[in-house]
Amino acid sequence: MAARQEQGEAYYKALTRKIVLIVVVASAIPLILISGTIRYYFQASYQDKVREHLQVLIKKHKQNIDTFLNDKLADIGFLAMSFPFEQMNDNAFLSERLSILRAMYGRSFVDLGVVDEHGIQTAYAGPFKLENADYSNAQWFKDAMQRREYISDVFPGLRGIPHFIVTIRQQHRGTYWILRATVDFEAFNSLVENIRVGSTGFAFILNKKGEFQTKPRFEIVASREPFLSFLATRREVRDEVDVTESPNESGIDYIYVMSPLKNGDWLLGYEQSAEDAYSAVYAARRFAVIIFVIGVLGMGAVAVLLSNRIVKHIAQADREKEMMQERVIEAGKLVSVGELAAGIAHEINNPVAVMVEEAGWIQDLLEEEDLKASQNLDEFKRALNQIRTQGSRCKQITHKLLSFARKTDPRPHVVQLNDLIEEVIALCQQRARYGNIKIGANLEPDLPTVTVSPTEVQQVLINLVNNSLDAIDEKGGKVEISTKFSDNRVTIDVADDGPGIPEAILPRIFDPFFTTKPVGKGTGLGLSICYGIISKIGGDITVNSAVGLGTTFHIQIPVSKREGNVSALNSSPKP
């Protein structure tokens, strides 16, 4: 039985695991789908928003920078057009103009100079000593001579400090001259320096060769590759702002935003690590993961709790089913034993009847005169009487068997419990005698009948008496069955003077599979079956026990008034 229980435990554990798995999977799948979908859409829309924001930011700054550069050009252009060459080609006048410009537009103009078509600076105003400086070989001079307006890349030039210049080409008596102004690098730099987002986002300006036109805020720019390729391919598009996202050399995802400046000569670049830009998304994602994990753990806990409870119920139901089966089997056994007994009893009855009648016939013949003289007449008579007596004993035995057989019927009948108890005692008497145990009865006369299955009540009583017989040791003892009627209930007490039941196990004795008998001796079902039978007929079975004094089982069976009356009629003697 222990093995069967272990097997059962393994089965129920597997069942629990299965239910937990199903519940968790079934509830986790929608959770995963929903949170996955929401995460995807949230991330996508948020990233779009971030990109859009960066795009707008860069576009605005691009416009600022373009405006700044155009303003400078316009300022210089206005100056160049406002005054004739002669007037401009004078240091003092130029100085005056420079101070006016600086007064009006801040300190963004560093110096002013007039350069003739040979690249010689013929007039100069500013902090450096650049009068008559020769720019004929400078790249900017060559470029500037090609168009009316020109803005150079940033370069150290003759002064050795990074700067850039704006130039306006004018004609004077058939030859070109150039008015040039140096724009303060710091002032220009601050235009981009202020573009800072998060902890890694910053902007910078590159020329076509990929050289910085501003001081990068960080020494390392993640990768110039995207910017350069953008410069190479899209210079003709003026207003476009492009956003790309790609990993840099160290594999970290970066967002690159770029827009052409100065008609595609320069590029306003912006870069930010994706993690920084999407920090809100990532935070939300972390939060969602935490919620998800907590959710799954919660579901797991609920699933475990729930399935434990369900499996407990299933196990209980299984136990009850098993008990029912055992009962059916027991009842079946009883029925087949009953049928066998009935068959044997019937078969034996006939020969016994013949024997008794033959003995009677001899007795009849002994009455005749000639045999009356026989000297052994008394012996004959004694022997014949003995045959008749033993014959009637056989009859009694077969009658007991037959009344047992007759009662192997689970349907309820009107039963006189006193008769039933007498039969049970008769059946158990033999076994009791071997154990040196007396079975006594103390039955209340005029006990009302009850409607029960006699087989089942008999089974209960036999079980209880057998338990008592098992409990009483070799020294012997006694078992007493008594009945009384009160409160419309018949009470049957089965009392023994055995060793008693320890208090610790008393509450468990009606539990199925609880047994104190050695393995293989008891199923542990006897008392639980008794309990089931008595409960079924609306009765009650309780136990009182004191260690060393004995045990008494009390069975109460309800009697209804109607039943009592009807059965009284039924049990009245035959006419």
């Binding site: 009935a342 019937h346 006939n350 013949v354 009677g360 009859k395 077969t398």
Partner: protein, 135 residues
């Protein structure tokens, strides 16, 4: 009329039907010795044959026979000779069937093995009741 004749003759005509031959034989011997006119038959069929030939006052009928159910035989007997009293013999435990027999007109039943004196008492009582009815 017929009853008076028998009464004056002082002998009750008995029909025994039981498939346990030894039992029927010994019962017949003992009852004959006690002044009954006994016809012993060993099956339901033989019982019917006997009843076709002769008239009887009381029949003692075993409930369980191989060729015929006692109750069925009882029904036929009661049709053939309604004034004949029938006593059923039964094993313990089949009293239910015996009681059923009473419903179909049997006078009484006894459980086997039974005391001969009991059987004679019932036969006499049955005969008396038959006589009462006849009168």
């Amino acid at each position: 009329m017929g009853a008076n004749e028998i009464q004056s003759a002082g002998k009750i005509r008995l029909l025994l039907v039981d498939d346990e031959e030894a039992y029927v034989n010994i019962l017949a011997k003992r009852l004959t010795k006690r002044d009954f006119v006994v016809t012993a038959t060993y099956s339901g069929t033989q019982g019917l044959q006997a009843l076709r030939k002769d008239e009887f006052d009381v029949a003692v009928l075993d409930l369980k026979m191989e060729d015929m159910d006692g109750i069925e035989l009882l029904k036929i007997f009661k049709k053939m000779l309604p004034q004949m009293a029938v006593i059923m013999l039964t094993g313990h435990g089949s009293e239910q069937a015996a009681r059923e027999g009473i419903q179909f007109g049997a006078f009484d039943y006894l459980t086997k093995p039974c005391e001969l004196d009991d059987l004679i008492d019932r036969i006499n009582a049955a005969w008396r009741s038959r006589g009462d009815r006849a009168l």
